[in-house]
């Protein structure tokens, strides 16, 4: 464990996340089924998989919003649930739906965490907020309400709000879904470049193959609660495994007469 810091809590560096034989059920439906993998400090780890595969559930479990039934999630070696790691280490999550505070302006959304915890004086907080807004190209929106923003801007505000925390672990739940290709590429670029600015481990849940290929260092493909394959994006794309190709290269049924004339079948 060369990269594990001596003091897992006070160090300000990226964390290691170990998912160890984790299972979880909702009313007898197994949502996570014996999932295990390790995410190295500083890595950008992508989780792909069809809808309902349990990706969001896993993300919520990592930040302690959900308790797992079996197994352990360890962050820098500490049990996420028992030691309430989200209180000890700076972890943040960008929710699938944003999760912005709808009654606060963009500026207040960003300043919420440092103000509530009285981390810095007023001037420093304002500077930090302005700086983060600049990184994400949101300068013009400081005084807008979340409802006045476009989907892509809202996603960027959610990312900005997480960055204020100076996270050592940042989770993104489908950051590019519901976005047009240009905004999606923009968000992908942002996630990819954040590592130069912040020392953090990123976990990105996404259906976006382009995102996985361009910024993912390793990709886990999940299907109905299990990890189907875990490898580099290149290896994943070359895979012949029918379970993998079924997800990565889906095709519309050419035998359906409705589609036949429009598709080059």
């Amino acid at each position: 464990m060369a990269n594990t810091p001596e003091n897992p809590v006070d160090d300000r560096r990226a964390v290691r996340v170990e998912i160890d034989r984790v299972s979880k059920s909702y009313n007898n439906q197994r949502v996570l089924d014996d999932v295990s993998f390790t995410i190295e400090p500083g890595e950008i780890f992508v989780i792909m998989g069809p809808s309902g595969a349990g990706k969001s559930t896993l993300m919520r479990a990592i930040v302690n919003l959900e308790k797992v039934d079996e197994g352990e999630i360890r962050i820098n070696g500490l049990d996420a649930f028992k030691q309430q790691t989200h209180k000890l280490m700076h972890t943040a999550i960008v929710f699938q739906a944003g999760g912005l505070f709808n009654s606060l302006t963009v500026e207040e959304n960003l300043g919420f965490y440092p103000r509530e915890h009285r981390l810095y004086d007023r001037k420093t907080i304002n500077e930090k907020v302005a700086y983060t807004l600049r990184i994400l190209n949101l300068e013009g929106c400081a005084d807008k309400m979340p409802s006045q923003l476009s989907g892509g801007m809202r996603k960027r505000v959610a990312i900005a709000r997480s960055l204020i925390i100076e996270p050592r672990l940042l989770l993104f739940d489908e950051p590019t879904s519901e976005l047009d290709p240009v905004s999606a590429a923009n968000i992908t670029e942002v996630i990819g470049t954040l590592r130069e600015e912040y020392d953090m481990t990123s976990i990105v849940v996404s259906h976006d193959r382009e995102l996985a290929a361009s910024i993912g260092e390793r990709v886990a493909l999940m299907g109905s609660g299990k990890v189907v394959m875990l490898d580099t994006p290149q290896k994943l794309a070359e895979s012949e495994d029918p379970e993998v190709t079924a997800f990565l290269k889906p095709s519309i049924n050419c035998n359906n007469p409705r589609f036949r004339q429009n598709l080059a079948c």
Binding site: L65, K87, T91, A92, G99, F101, N102, E116, H117
Partner: protein, 251 residues
Amino acid sequence: MQAIKNFFGFAGECVLVFFRSLYYLPTLPWQFTRLMDYCFNIGYKTMPMVSIMAFFLGAVLVMQTGDSLEDFAGANLYLGRISGLGMSRELAPLISALLLAGRVGSSVTAEIASMKVYHEIDALKTMNVPAERILVMPRLVAIILMMPIVVGVAIFVGWYGGAMAAAHVPFIAQPEEVYWANLKHVVSFHDIIDGQIKGMIFGVSVILIACTQGLNTKGGPREIGMSVTSAVVASMVIILFLDFVLTRVLM
């Protein structure tokens, strides 16, 4: 059976939320702006309606008793007493609390429930800012500060409504001075305190139920609406039940 279980489950949760909020009381000084905001909101939403309701309730009370006491010669002298005690000990806290449940409780539940449904509460949790700390505790303090003012206004406006009715309704036509003299003679400071204690307990219950119900909401927009309805209904039932108990205890 299920209903009883639900009731006790919910009551237990309210108590839990209450104690968790108490735990965050030391953070109150940092939340001064928020507290002022909640106080203003409570006052703004309840004060005008409570005043109007109290005025007419006081007037109607005097009119009804004036009418029914007409057969007993001289009994009209007790109008001040009836309105004085009825308003301060019973009606002012009761209407204030019912209105609070309808206007403030409902909007608190709606706000917290939608924050829950749209993951804002989750976001708060990951930021290590529990909902009890910023959404519940300051509201409880706000209601403890505001309820005495609201109930106090209701009492005095109610008395005044009674005085107006006594003086200006032809079949009573009692000089205001007689009414006030009788009222002052009978009503003691103790009666007003009784009303204030009731009001305070009702107010805290309403806010606690509203917040707990909001935090318990799961699902989507439909569930937000259902939560608001059940919070208001539960508040009203609890108010009337507590009223019965407190009246007995304070007598």
